[in-house]
Amino acid sequence: MDNSKKNPQISKKNRTSINQTVEFSPEIDRFIKARQQGTRQWILAHLFHKSNKYFIFIVLMTTILSANLSSASLVVLGMTISELMEGNDSNLIFYVIIILILGVSAPILRLFNFLVRETLAQRLERDVRKEFFTNLLGKSQSFHDKQKIGEVMARATDDVRMLNFMVSPALSLIIESFTSLIIPLIYIALFFPPQLLLAPLIFIILFLFALRSYIRKITPVTGILRFSFGRMNATLTETLNGIEVVKSSTQELAEMKKYVDKAMNYRNAYIKQGHIQAKYLPLLFFALSVTLGLTHAIYLYYQGVLNIGQIIAYVGLVSLLRFPTFISIFVFAIIRLAVTGAQRLLDFMNQETEIDENLEGIEKIIEGNIKFENVSFSYSKRSKPILKNLSFEVKAGQTIAIVGTTGSGKTTLTKLISRLYDVDEGKILVDNLDIRNYALESLRSQISYIEQDVFLFSTSVFENITFGRTSSMDDVEMVAKEAQAHGFISKLPNGYYSEVGERGVQLSGGERQRIAIARAFLSDPRILILDDSTSAIDSATEDKIQKAIRNILKNRTTILITHRLSQIRWADLIIVLKRGEIVAKGTHEELLKTSEEYRKIFVKKFDVDLDYLLKKCEEEL
């Protein structure tokens, strides 16, 4: 990865030459076509990718060879016994040595086979996971907004792992089953009268039919079993999470019944599965084929065609069919899981990201004037509109506060500005130019977003602040001071080099927010969107947060989604959103006069009347 520092350039070049909708691709993606062709093609493309095909070839050859060794060992055994029957034990040592060589070399060959197979399986897992990760990195933010992190994780680990299991052991077991079905037959054909093929051939035909019907029956039941286990887990987890509520509403019995119901469903599915497994017919067919084979062989013995040693060897060869009979059930289950897993991976990877990049777009430094003209938006054609006919203007350098309850469309509104989504109707202008005319990169690089739950990477504070822009310690300290973060950072055990996040120092919401503000200071965007829903339970923290926000909104256009009355009180423009519509708009004073709901916030909270509030406003002037 020596060239990784040049990545931005590489990625840009790739974007134009390979796939225009990918935001990031560090190297040439070899599986684009296969992914679009379908699950099977994609899996095959991976299996035969580069040197992988040689691995498969080796696995195939060694399996065939070791199946030959087992069969040959039985033939030699037959010969030994035949000669012993004739009272000839002069070759005994010779035969025993051959049996020993065969008996020991088969496992050694198998070991080699396992190692190669395992390497292939692990490589596949590694490569698919890398492909998946890289692909997701290249997806647009609108894609990521829709994903639950747990889902992504489940796919990146469990589903990818299924592909590993598909190779080790499933793939080699298939080859092995297949060879153990075929090789004994070949040996029978070579060393025995051909009519002895009758019993094993009948078996194979019956086996394939019975197996198919078994799989058809068991598949839905295992599905139900897995599903009901999941439900049982989910129910119990929820009950225990809400244990305080359960206890205070004395619902223990009802909750227990809920759980036992789910456990009962699991039990029923389990028993049903047991019944179907007990009825696994191929085992019966196998036993009967051995009987048939034996009868046939004895018949031929009476005819004088076979000797006793051959009977024993023949029965031994037919008995080799036991392995595929047993193993097939598991193999099919694993393959099915792998294909489902691959499908789930492709579901993600094949999703188009709907940004419509304007390659000839304008690149320029913006002032920060934002204008919404009759903007309407919904997430999909069928769903209800989230935003309805919005119009307002923010002058460059102004601060606007958006207020409204959850679901009123506040966050969606801000996402439209950086084109995480495109408007359905109307338009958004930045510096009097439709945002769709800008080059996406140019537009986005001048807009920063500080989200409600600030995310910090589990690295040092320093690296978190400089995430977007490599800077010196002096610069970092300076922005941290502006963001009112220097104080608490210097008190951390290792100062700016303290680890944060899951494994490191636990920071409060207010502290994380101030680190994010410092990060934004460094990147110095023209437009800042700040989802400020951080709560401060003590006044000192509140003072700091207020000061940090005041510093960052200087000299740039700022859109605040805020719960803080002081921010609302002093914003240049306040927009009250309700169900996607602007129900009130103006300054604090204007809203006190025009909006009943807005007035109630202050009147009710502070037990004062309107006149008093208006008087306060006038005092300011």
Binding site: M85, G103, F114, V245, E252, T405
Partner: protein, 602 residues
Amino acid sequence: MWAGLEAEEYDRKYKDKYLVNRIVSYFRPYRREMSIVIFFLTLSAFTYAAIPIIISIAVTNLAINREPIFLVLIIISIFSLNFLAWIFNYFRQRFTAMVVGDIVLDLRRDANKAVLNHDLSFFDRNPIGKIVSRMNTDSRDFGQTVDLTMQVISSFFIMAILLIVMCFINLFLAMIFMISIPLFFIVALLFRKIARHKTLLGQRALASVNAYVKESFSGIQIAKTFRQESKLYEKFNEVNNQSYNVNLRKGYVLFTIFPVLSVIMGVLLTLIVYFGGIYVSGGQISVGELYLFLQSLQMLFFPLLVIAAFWPQLQAGLAASERIFALIDTPPAVIQNNDIKPEKFKGKIEFRNLTFQYEDQKGVFDNFSLTIQPGESLAIVGHTGAGKSSLAKLLARFYEFQGGDILIDGKSIRDFDLSEYRKQIGIIPQIPFLWSGTIKSNISYGFNNATRDDINEALNQTGGYGWVEELSKGLITKVGERGNLLSMGQRQLVVFARTLLENPSILILDEATASVDPFTETRIQDALEKTIKGRTSIIIAHRLWTVRHVDRIIVLDHGKIVEQGNHDELMAKGGKYAELYNTYFRHQSLEYIEKMKEKKLA
């Protein structure tokens, strides 16, 4: 498989004998089914063992006996033995599945009952994920072990029968057989040690990949905003390659065991052929008998492989049962002296010389006394750790106190029937918990016969129905897991409505510290105002509005009341409360908000 093996607090070591007795007691209700299982298990073992013996007799006699009747007899008996074996096995498996299914269900039911009866200190100590996995996954593993044990026992039966027959045929050859058995186990156990270590490493490596994927996509927005995808990509490659290397090594080790066991078998085969060959040519044994040895080798190898491969799983199954029993056996800590079913409380609460501490921790209350009059609203303020929420939790009987007493309407709370008592106490926790259902189902939780009117009435009382109507589907809007599709404030309104529907005599409210949008905040104030009216209310206050509206404020410090009175009195006094006001409530005042502009200009 071996991750997270560290012992938990409610773990106890059972004596093996006790453990076995305990397991057996779960089988007791299914005696009839179990005897059927054992019956068929024995039968199928005998038939399976008989087949190679019959074939061996056939082979031995082929050369001598050419009677067609003999042949037909042999064929028919092999045919019917095979058929019967399958039938017997069918019944065994069928009944085993039934017994295992039922026992696992019983285990789960018992564990669930035990867990739900614990007080909250149990849940403080034990992470929910672990409890869930004990109840569901461990019981499933236990069930699998039972199933597996059946198969192993059946294989042992077959082996034992064959070994006895072999001993009669030729003691020396039988001895070669028996010597190999411990060898199998030694190899398998040796392997287990190494495999265990490697598996653990492999899991850790995978876990770090998992953690990194989580981190990357949690922070994807920042990476995208700053165009730093390559940073994530490089680090990912590092952990992914590490996982590859470690897991590859793990795979190498794990898959070596089967070839090694096969080598043992290959050597064994050679020995049998060699010595058997000598005996055959010496005339001590017949070819048919040699055949029996060779066949037995195949039959021996299979169960040994099963046992060797599943030995860890067998042990894990035993350990799993031990863990579930430990869960069931942990005694609940709530003390109940009597089961008086109270009339509607008037609501007088008296804490009398109360002593309380969380387990193994510093005392929270020592000789604490406080009396609250019926219908009074009381706010508790104080720094973190002053004992504010402990007081509320003790009253809710979520924890047990060690000394003194809590009396309601003059009676000790330990004398009341727990569930009747809790029905009269309404609790609104700081972080509201909603069930993943609709708003309606959450409000009516615990009141299955609540009508739509009741629900509307409850909502109306919390200060309005309006916000629910603003949602896409009104009352039947889905709230998501833990209610996360609603905002904190909205969740709180739902909990208020639920509490009002319950109509408790005593209300305990831990005010939220999370920030709430101003419109919802106004509604919460309305709801609070209506909810505390006419009932004894204890509020752990974080809101300026609340402290200004309650009848009495007590200031708690290290489990002691240091000041009490109403807001204005206490502010005038200029003591501890005034100090707390400056720390926690000042920024919520109108003066503060109005002053911000000056600072902005400055």
